[in-house]
């Protein structure tokens, strides 16, 4: 039986100063994907904040109900955009999850799975690569096809989830680690590239495309060797110690002063990298806070950086109709909405159409599509409706997680739409034949 607990423990807890900013006006409700699905306070930002407050004040138990509603949150941070009071919800929910991690006993299976993913796998690039190789054998050997055709996945309730599993790349992003890539033409900037963790085995091509686009626009790109996972997934899950550890390793791996910027093509990673000071606060035990501040100040999303730098590489026309899906951690987490749109529009021949509710979460949300599959697929269905209404041939977005989810959506709903990262579109325009 899960233990009954009242109140939060002292470290990493939702702070009064943060939750008291919520004046329960309700203006965030209609912007929250889970409220829009279920329409109850408990699954709204206002209700979640109130639950944190009640637990903090000992009026609600840190028990099953609390955990369920906090688990249901996508951490998409659309509520932050909507909130006139400046509530920093992302910070609150991550703290609430840290408390759950510390005080609440999850069922055995979930404990084992979480322990494996957050503590044994993500922090170690070599283990990710090994696991990916095994998965690749499953995907390529015909085993996957067999599993699908026998219907065994359906029986196990895994058929939807299986579609959400990324296809493992045939060539990992590994030989590039530690390398420097020269700028094309005159050097306008020198940047460090953040390669991601799972992305190195599932989005190696996207990483290569990002480097090519940066080079083509006059940036020298260095890929620091010892970098590790940014810590976003553990931080969102409340596994703070691991996240903090990873943050410290990255601070050591990146010689901050040698670069104009630290670039990531993953909005989810970017928003965590920009918030390392939350993980390493000023009052923490070590002196990492200052370094975290300098590090975070240099982090740029690839689209943000290219937009600031100004595109210099000549672009050839692409005759496609595209729409753009705001990645939550770019639009709501980093408040970047215009940069990717400007880059897309800069490509000659492109027909850009906005979809309705472009800044609503697609349901990917880190590992949400695996842990809360039903809700995730419901959100995906809404998203695909909006995307297909535009009759766009391609959906462009800015985060690997969103790309996976939308690709699954395009398959499940048979829209036939291609899904691309903004930099992949740029890469095509740079490489496209006349």
């Amino acid at each position: 039986m899960p233990a009954k607990t009242v109140g939060f423990t002292a470290i990493d807890k939702p702070e009064y100063a943060d939750y008291a900013r919520c004046v329960h006006c309700g203006l965030c409700l209609n912007h929250c994907p889970t409220y829009r699905l279920w329409h109850q306070e408990a699954d709204s930002p206002r209700g979640r904040i109130r639950q944190m407050e009640l637990v903090d004040q000992g009026q609600m138990e840190l028990g099953d109900a609390f955990v369920t509603h906090i688990d249901h949150c996508l951490d998409c941070r659309a509520c932050e955009t909507a909130c006139p009071s400046g509530v920093e919800y992302g910070r609150l929910v991550e703290a609430a999850r840290a408390q759950i991690e510390r005080q609440y006993k999850r069922p055995l299976f979930s404990r084992i799975a979480r322990d494996f993913v957050y503590r044994k796998l993500l922090p170690y690039p070599a283990r990710i690569a090994a696991a990916a190789r095994a998965l690749r054998i499953y995907q390529r050997s015909g085993l996957a096809a067999a599993a699908r055709s026998t219907g065994i996945l359906k029986v196990l309730g895994l058929s939807d989830r299986e579609r959400l599993i990324p296809r493992i790349d045939s060539r990992f992003f590994s030989s590039e680690m530690g390398q420097t890539f020269r700028a094309v033409g005159q050097r306008r900037a020198r940047v460090a590239f953040f390669a991601g963790c799972v992305a190195r085995v599932t989005f190696a091509e996207l990483n290569r495309a990002t480097i090519r686009v940066l080079q083509a626009n006059g940036s020298e790109v260095v890929v620091p060797q010892n970098q590790v996972c940014c810590g976003a997934l553990p931080a969102h899950a409340g596994v703070r110690d691991v996240a903090r550890d990873l943050a410290r390793k990255n601070l050591a791996a990146f010689p901050i002063d040698g670069f104009d910027a630290i670039i990531t093509n993953a909005a989810g990673c970017g928003s965590t990298l920009k918030e390392y000071t939350h993980l390493l606060p000023a009052n923490g035990s070590s002196g990492d806070h200052d370094r975290a501040m300098r590090f975070s100040a240099k982090v740029r999303d690839a689209t943000e950086f290219l937009d600031e730098l100004g595109l210099m590489a000549p672009l050839k026309p692409l005759l496609v109709r595209v729409t753009y899906q705001d990645s939550c951690h770019l639009a709501h987490g980093q408040k970047i909405r215009e940069a990717p749109r400007r880059l897309i529009r800069a490509i000659p021949g492109i027909e850009f159409v906005e979809m309705q509710q472009a800044d609503q979460c697609c349901g990917s949300a880190g590992v949400y599509n695996v842990t809360e599959t039903k809700a995730s697929l419901d959100l995906l269905a809404l998203k695909m409706d909006c995307a297909s209404e535009t009759h766009a041939q391609a959906i462009v977005t800015a985060n690997p997680g969103c790309i996976l989810q939308l690709r699954a959506g395009s398959q499940i709903h048979g829209t036939g739409q291609e899904v691309l990262h903004v930099v992949e579109l740029l890469d095509r325009a740079i490489a496209a034949p006349r």
Partner: protein, 479 residues
């Protein structure tokens, strides 16, 4: 809660349509106001038939029924002051029909105000009532509170945009008032129903007017070193027969609070700003804009800026519409008051607000719908300090008292609810209140619908805070 009733409710609405666990009920104790009260259960009907059946059960068990939209209300309207069943309309949120030719829409009550406008924007139409909470509040809530917004000045309040209603009355009868035609014969029951704050019936379907989006819109920001100059500008604009579609005013302190958050380009050293909007046909708008500018300058506006494009215009409005929240960032809690005064009394009222602020040592920001004399002082306090909370309420009462003194009223648009029931005698005689009670009893004879609201009652049992007595400087009776 009666277990039989609970079982029947679950049978009717399914397990996921009923909430009765304490941890869920704690989350329906609040709305946008400073009031609290706990319900015994919360239900989520999906159709009119569900609502009819709900009344049957509630009446049989003599249990109060309280409607709820998005819970953005500022007077505790959606709280179960005497316990009972909260009926959330959040899942009845479909737009049922859009009649382009006749510019009408039929909606369920849970449709969010701005979602309706967004759904018809491509047809060049919109739903005109625009409370600052429009991105969250529901049309059912708007109907019940007869909500207004910045554009009320030209377009009117919700009641001017409701053509017909379907509702279930306190008696349990399903009725339809009004018609899709502009003027229906007989008594205007729709009119009497709009603004009844959920005490006459629960609204299950609404037919609203859709208004053409204007051909042209111009928004202007006028900056002043004196509040008097700003208010005189407003008076003169009306005197000249110009009807701006909106005319909003912010005082200096509020300007600084908003600017820090929104970066709308408001000048930090101003004493007051006016945000004036004119809309209509292109030529009309240019003409009106010229006149408005002239009046502003005549009354010593130190600068007049016209938004150059839609982006600048949106930014100015963002500054205004986020004013409450932006001010709220400064203290843990705020109490938004809502009063109406004759426009000519603006300067005197503002002076009075300043005095009250000094008397209690509480910061008060001022935001008004200046065009129609609807003021919203925002009183900051710290909820952890019982004394500050009481003082905030006293300060609010003194301001409202002054509004009534100068010929105004106790609420402009946020409703009476459970917040201002005790102030009703300030503006109504016993005869007035008796008459209202008789009307109430026609619709809601057993008093099971949203009890403990609007009428001054001996205190209910749902309250957590003990309210101080209002300090009246004159006898409440009005000649």
């Amino acid at each position: 809660m009666n277990p039989r009733l609970l079982r029947d409710l679950k049978k009717l609405l399914g397990a996921d349509g009923v909430l009765s666990e304490p941890e869920d009920l704690l989350l329906y104790e609040y709305d946008g106001s400073v009031e609290t009260a706990r319900p015994d259960c919360v239900v989520f009907p999906r159709s009119t038939a569900d609502v009819v059946e709900l009344f049957r059960l509630a009446n049989r068990h003599k249990t109060p029924l309280v409607g709820r939209g998005a819970g953005t209300g500022l007077s505790g309207g959606a709280l179960a002051r005497q316990g009972g069943i909260i009926t959330s309309f959040a899942r009845m949120n479909r737009i049922l029909a859009i009649d382009i030719e006749n510019q009408r829409a039929v909606v369920q009550p849970g449709v969010v105000n701005s979602d309706l406008s967004a759904a018809v924007a491509h047809l060049g139409l919109h739903f005109a009532p625009d409370p600052s909470s429009q991105k969250a509040c529901t049309i059912g809530g708007n109907v019940s509170e007869n909500s207004g917004g910045p554009h009320t000045l030209a377009y009117g309040v919700t009641t001017n945009h409701v053509l017909a209603l379907e509702a279930v009355l306190g008696t349990g009868e399903l009725v339809r008032f009004g018609s899709a035609a502009l003027d229906s014969p007989g008594y205007d029951l729709t009119g009497i129903f709009v603004g009844s704050e959920g005490t006459f019936g629960l609204v299950t379907e609404i037919t609203v007017k859709l208004i053409r989006l204007p051909e042209a819109v111009k928004t202007l920001l006028a900056i002043y070193n004196s509040v008097n100059d700003a208010t005189e500008t407003v008076a003169e604009i009306t005197a000249r027969g110009i009807t701006p579609s909106a005319c909003e005013m912010l005082d200096g302190w509020t300007i600084r609070a908003v600017e820090e958050y929104v970066h709308a380009g408001f000048p930090l050293d101003a004493t007051a700003i006016l945000l004036i909007e004119v809309d209509g046909l292109l030529e009309e708008v240019e003409d009106a804009l010229l006149h408005v500018k002239e009046v502003c300058t005549m009354h010593r506006a130190r600068e007049v800026r016209v938004a150059r494009d839609e982006r600048e215009r949106e930014l100015l409005w963002k500054g205004r519409k986020n004013a409450f929240g932006a001010v709220g960032r400064i203290a843990p809690s705020y109490y938004t008051q809502d009063g109406v005064i004759p426009r000519s009394k603006l300067p005197a009222t503002l002076r009075r607000v300043g005095e009250v602020s000094r008397k209690y040592g509480l910061q008060i920001g001022n935001v008004f719908h200046a065009g129609d004399g609807n003021l919203h002082p925002i009183i900051l306090f710290d909820e952890r300090d019982e004394r500050q909370f009481r003082d905030a309420v006293r300060a609010a009462d003194e301001i409202i008292d002054f509004c009534v003194h100068v010929g105004g009223a106790i609420t402009g648009e946020h409703g009476v609810g459970m917040e201002k029931d005790r102030l009703m005698p300030l503006i109504f005689t016993e005869t007035d209140l008796d008459l209202m009670k008789q009307v109430h009893d026609v619709f809601n004879p057993a008093g099971l619908l949203n009890p403990g609201k609007i009428f001054p009652t001996s205190k209910g049992c749902g309250e957590i805070y003990v309210r101080p007595q209002p300090q009246l400087s004159s006898p409440p009776a009005r000649a």
